[in-house]
């Protein structure tokens, strides 16, 4: 540091201009003593020069705290410049010399009464910056006076000082009643005072979330909106950011605030514009979509957002990160503005990458040709990161815009021909995703891909290629050779590649068992015996066990049809998105993370939410909705879209109630021989997994995110996020499943008690059974069979009870079901006759399943089709039912029903009565159309059902009642 000062003085010695840099010359050793003398000089000029030298030393990092008493002595001066320098010194060193800082108090107090407002303000501003407890108590009286000062400059400074003081000693501020004075300043006649008071209050409220300090009401809001027109650009930002925390009472208030905020969109300062956008995006939620004003507002938002792209690059970056959120929430705003996001050669890399992201979000059939041409152009650039992202973007376009898939694939093939190594690897990674999205369509390109096998050196690309080889093993003649070649260096591969190789070889084995037995043995032993990676080892064991006990089941598990991936994969999870919209313009919106993820001490802070939409004043709340989802023990299933640990852990529970039977302790120190112990647990675990197959997919990047919509994901937050789940707005819930009931009492089952229920989880219809042995002897050899029934329900696999059931032992079994069995009409329609066998006897019982279990996921009818069908079905087929004592808002009801695949197609409100039009489809293709009428305050709902097979109506109604009341 001193070097700097010395060097400076050398540079300056010859300069003719006298500048402040001359003060840096006196920092040699022994100078402190000299300075001391100068500070105590009688001559004003000399004193001032000495203080400047002290500050210069301070600036270059030299410790001049030893001069504290001497500098403080200079404080009493009528020279404003000198005073400012002394104050600056105080702010820096008071904390290290708290005892001596007291010496300054008197002058502060006196300065706060100086006739010159600049000095009063300076004193109150500086006092607040001196974080010494002893001083703060002396601060109160001067501060009180300054808050009521006649000069607005002093008042606006005092307002901020309250926030400073609160930061040092919150209790003191409350005791002294400063908060009330601060609140009064919101009504001050001077706009700058209002703005600073708002800023100070917001700051205090933010650090004390429960203080309920900013009790915003329509009167204060009105005052703020008035001040908004008159204060400085920064003041406007404080006020807008504060407004964004308010929740209007109704749509009318919301509209009137929006109207008064929109002019801010024309402000030259980008930060004012973004804060205004935040308020508008938030309050818009409350406007009915059919309102003219809503459309007007949407139109008004686009131009200012586009103009933000002409700001300085850093501001462009913030704007782009926010636009990314805005287009996810309201894609209609910028859908015609694609070309402004085209990348320019001289854009900084961070702007380029963000523009690319937004281009993909805006890609649609209408503009895809243009977008692809641009992306191809970018892919031939030289900046590696940018090129990679451009290639990846082509893949994402293919997945997003189906009509363009073919062009995207051929563009990717062109790029592979360039043989630029990283382009090829990136292309292969995205082609894998395209295969997942459009199976059996583009596999002809596999040959081209295989040609590039040797050039792949990145784990992700290798894993993608291996996945492709495994998935399409039956079409690749030398698949075994290809995979074998990877196996040689198995232990040098990254985990991602190892896992993929394991899965691919098992797939290959299941497809071509005869030639590949040796290969599969080899990989299983590499994974289980020679690896110390627990994931790899466990997956190896699972396959091994599966292959050795039941190859058929293995096939069903490993080669199960995978859910298609969709564009949503890279969308931000909706609740997070809502929260981020409330934080537009802030760091959270830049990071795309909630503030709790990066601000210390904000964990307990409530997450911001968008207000509910028009009409549903009492938006969904009730924490018990999650239990209504029928997953009582396990927390609601979660898809980790941010890959946080907690999410991953919970993901295990996606596959529902595995065993509670064999305790996990059983696997301590298991060797291969002890595998049988695990048997039952493992197998039923896998049984429950059928069809969901997410565990299988977990190896390749995007897989888990493609789960059906009935699961929703809180992201990255702590446990509090989880419990928030039920409160989410417009969030679909899990399917309704009735509680277990006893189907076969032990009396009738010779000691075997069976209780059970039906559930539909992740699109899989299943029977969940609890078997309890109340007899004195061990039970084995369980099997199950169904009688013919109305919907052809049949077990999709054997009943997996592999361990003997000892006396007093209970086991939970999940039996996946299908609906391809023999059909016979039952009475009641949903009756199911079951036979269970064990080593003792065969037992018969019957049970009834809620018909909602048979509602399939694609039961959402097109609006037009719905209208036509409704008219088409004769009125005789219509039946009406009453549901009594139900207290849900229409949105909540609609959400609940959607969880059970009853889809709301349209909603109409007439005279305060909400009418929901809904459709559902049964597994045998029968459509049921419904009209649900409900009125706020009236607990009785009316359901009208129309169906070509009217006999199902009664059962459907029962399901309605059960779902809504649970």
């Amino acid at each position: 540091m001193q070097e700097w000062a010395n060097q400076l003085c050398e540079n300056r010695q010859f300069g003719s201009k006298m500048t402040d840099s001359k003060y840096f010359t006196t920092t040699k050793k022994g100078e402190i003593f000299e300075l001391k003398a100068e500070l105590n000089s009688d001559k004003k000029e000399k004193k001032k020069e000495a203080v400047k030298k002290v500050i210069a030393s301070m600036t270059v990092g030299k410790d001049v705290s030893a001069l504290f008493p001497d500098v403080v002595n200079c404080m009493q001066t009528d020279n404003l410049e000198l005073k400012k320098l002394v104050y600056l010194y105080l702010m820096n060193y008071a904390k290290s010399q708290p005892d001596m800082a007291i010496m300054a108090v008197n002058t502060f107090v006196k300065d706060c009464e100086d006739p010159n407002p600049l000095i009063r303000a300076l004193a109150v501003r500086t006092m607040g910056c001196i974080r010494v407890d002893k001083i703060t108590e002396y601060l109160c009286e001067p501060l009180r006076k300054c808050l009521k000062d006649e000069d607005p400059y002093v008042r606006k400074t005092a307002a901020v000082c309250v926030a400073k003081l609160h930061d040092i000693n919150a209790q003191l501020v409350e005791d002294q009643g400063f908060l009330d004075t601060l609140k009064d300043l919101i009504s001050d006649s001077n706009p700058m005072v209002v703005a600073n008071a708002v800023a100070a209050l917001s700051e205090i409220a933010e650090s004390h979330p429960n203080s309920n300090l900013m009790d915003l009401n329509p009167q204060t809001i009105n005052k703020l909106l008035t001040a908004l027109n008159e204060c400085t650009e920064w003041g406007q930002i404080f006020i807008l950011d504060c407004l964004a925390n308010y929740t209007p009472r109704d749509d009318r208030e919301s509209q009137s605030i929006c109207e008064r905020v929109t002019p801010r969109l024309s402000h030259a300062n980008s930060a004012v514009v973004l804060s205004a956008v935040k308020v508008l995006m938030k309050f818009m939620e409350m406007l009915p979509k059919d309102l003219d004003y809503y459309g007007t507002l949407l139109k008004k938002l686009a131009p200012p957002l586009v103009t933000l792209l002409s700001a300085e690059p850093e501001l462009q970056y913030v704007a782009l990160r926010n636009i990314n959120l805005i287009v996810q929430r309201r894609p209609e705003i910028l859908k015609h503005e694609m070309k402004v996001f085209f990348v320019k050669y001289n854009d900084p890399i961070y702007v380029k990458l963000e523009k690319l992201d937004i281009m993909i979000r805006l890609a649609s059939q209408a503009n895809i040709a243009q977008v692809l041409a641009e992306l191809k152009e970018y892919a031939t650039e030289v900046d590696v990161d940018f090129v990679r992202k451009a290639v990846r973007a082509i893949g994402r376009c293919a997945i997003k815009v189906e009509q363009s898939a073919e062009r995207c694939v051929s563009t990717l093939l062109d790029l592979i021909q360039t043989k630029v190594n990283y382009v090829v690897q990136e292309a292969i990674v995205v082609i894998k995703d395209i295969f997942r999205k459009y199976p059996n369509k583009y596999e002809s390109v596999i040959a081209t891909l295989c040609e590039n096998l040797d050039s792949l050196d990145e784990p992700e690309a290798r894993a993608a290629m291996i996945w492709i080889v495994g998935e399409y093993a039956e079409r690749i003649d030398n698949a075994d050779e290809l995979l074998e070649s990877f196996l040689e260096g198995f232990h040098d591969e990254s985990t991602q590649v190892q896992l993929q190789l394991l899965t691919a070889i098992v797939k290959l084995f299941l497809k071509k068992p005869t030639e590949t037995q040796e290969l599969v043995q080899q990989v299983l032993s590499l994974a289980t015996q020679d690896s110390d990676n627990p994931d790899l080892r466990d997956r190896g064991y699972i396959y091994w066990r599966l292959l050795s006990t039941d190859p058929v089941a293995a096939k069903e598990v490993v080669l199960a049809e995978k859910p298609l991936i969709s564009e949503e994969t890279d969308l931000i999870e909706p609740t997070l998105l809502e929260e981020l919209i409330c934080h537009i313009g802030t760091l959270a919106s830049v990071y795309h993370k909630p503030p709790s993820a990066f601000v210390e001490g904000s964990r307990g802070v409530q997450h911001k939410r968008l207000p509910g939409s028009a009409g549903s004043g009492e938006s969904v709340e009730s924490p018990d909705t999650s239990s209504a989802a029928g997953i009582s023990d396990a927390p609601p299933a979660v898809i980790p879209s941010q890959g946080d640990l907690l999410g991953d852990l919970l993901n295990l529970d996606v596959t529902p109630p595995a065993t509670t039977g064999p305790p996990p302790a059983a696997n301590s120190g298991v060797q291969m021989g002890a595998m049988d112990l695990l048997g039952g647990g493992l197998d039923s675990l896998l049984g429950g997994d059928l069809g969901g197959s997410s565990a299988m997919g977990a190896g390749f990047g995007a897989a888990p995110a493609a789960m059906p919509a009935s699961f929703s994901a809180p992201v990255s937050g702590g446990l509090d996020d989880l419990f928030d789940l039920g409160g989410g707005v417009g969030m679909p819930m899990g399917a309704f499943s009735p509680p277990k009931t006893v189907w076969l009492p032990a009396m009738k089952g010779k000691g075997l008690e069976i209780s059970g229920t039906f559930a539909r989880r992740a699109g899989v219809f299943q029977m969940e059974l609890t078997l309890m042995n109340k007899a004195m002897s061990v039970m084995t050899d369980f099997a199950i069979q169904f009688n013919r029934n109305s919907f052809g329900i049949a077990p999709a696999g054997p009943l997996q009870v592999l361990t003997p059931l000892s006396p007093n032992q209970t086991i939970e079994v999940t039996l996946p079901l299908n609906t391809v069995g023999p059909v016979m009409k039952m009475d009641p329609l949903n009756n199911l006759q079951v036979a269970v066998k064990n080593n003792i006897d065969v037992f018969y019982f019957s049970c009834q399943y809620p018909i909602s279990m048979l509602f399939v996921e694609d039961g959402k009818m097109e609006r037009q089709v719905f209208l036509a069908t409704w008219k088409d079905i004769p009125n005789d087929n219509e039946s009406q039912f009453q549901i009594k004592d139900c207290h849900l808002s229409s949105d909540a009801a609609s959400n609940k029903l959607q969880g059970s695949n009853i889809f709301t197609i349209a909603k109409r409100t007439v005279d305060g009565q909400d009418m929901l039009y809904q459709s559902m489809k049964l597994t045998n293709g029968i459509w049921v159309l419904a009209e649900l009428r409900l009125q706020a305050g009236n607990p009785n709902y009316t359901v009208s059902l129309k169906c070509r097979a009217p006999e199902v109506s009664q059962c459907v109604f029962q399901s309605y009642e059960a779902v809504l009341k649970n």
């Binding site: 901020v160 030259a268 930060a271 804060s275 103009t307 050669y345 934080h583």
Partner: protein
Amino acid sequence: MSASAIFVLDLKGKVLICRNYKGDVDMAEIDHFMPLLMQQEEEGLLSPVMSHGCVHFLWIKHSNLYLVATTNKNSNASLVYSFLYKIVEVFTEYFKELEEESIQDNFVVVYELLDELMDFGFPQTTDSKILQEYITQEGTKLEVAKSKVPTTVTNAVSWRSEGIKYKKNEVFIDVIESINVLVNANGSVMSSDIVGSIKLKTMLSGMPELRLGLNDRVLFALTGRDKGKTVVMEDVKFHQCVRLSRFESDRTISFIPPDGESELMSYRINTHVKPLIWIESIIEKFSHSRVEIMVKAKGQFKKQSVANNVEVRVPVPSDADSPKFKTSTGHAKYVPEKNLVVWTIKSFPGGKEFLMRAHFGLPSVENDEAEGKPPITVKFEIPYFTVSGIQVRYMKIIEKSGYQALPWVRYITQSGDYQLRTNA
């Protein structure tokens, strides 16, 4: 809410001056800034926000300085960047140029300004004209004037002081339109827009009320006039002084202007404009031997108009040598440090077409490093003309003393971000 502290660093990351506003972030955290920046630069993932633990750095670069704000809260990032740029603006007006030396030479004023610009992380008065009324560089001289807070600081009119006097009252209005164009290698215009700016040089006494009338399509539609020669402004941005709610309600641009020079408003127009200077280029690269460049420039604007100081900048490979040029007009120059040929034409009349040929040698041993494909860029100015046809219809000036004032208007069109991609 925004910044905890503001730092000014030199290129090596050494702190030149700093101000701790909130005290909730350790000032020593700044030592992590430079290593982080260098790491990001190395990875090619530079970003204007960086974080180290709980501390976030928001930074901009200006000449040989880094301006950095630190925070550990969920700060309003756009406010922080706006504010950092505002600091640059204020310092530049104070010190002519903002660079390492000017900070050292004026550290006392810099401290004073930092104290006035922001308080506890909240930006305060940032209008340099007003600041100059009570924070001056020569403290000794202006002792008297400084002893008062200019009422302007807290006034609703925070950008203009009272008591300004001119002998002759005049206001100069410059309407400047910049044309942004992006043309693909195959000659199709990918995007084009006009960014207009209306700048004022106000030399008016007292507190004048001004009203600016433009041939704004929306205004004409509102008042039911013929919209023949009007323009549609896609988006308009105004200086703090313009009453935004008034504009929102009846499209009137009314304001009390800041004294001296200021940008009153800017606007964006999306209409598809024909690129005023059209470039066709053939760049042929014969590896290991030569590059041949042929560029044709065509003035696609009215014959009566003339484009001045036209510069066509054509990229060439970085290892090119021995340039040879032939031009039908103007002259071409090789700028090796930028890997460009700059073809300058002082005066380029509308409707004319000119040609430039260039020939470069290439070394037989080729440069390994892949080079980007920089576009051809064009710079020009066309005076007395706006592409959009925007017109200042009137500027009404009313001051209570009732003086007569004259408005003067100038129009000019210039190139903005004007890029044409090449095949090379």
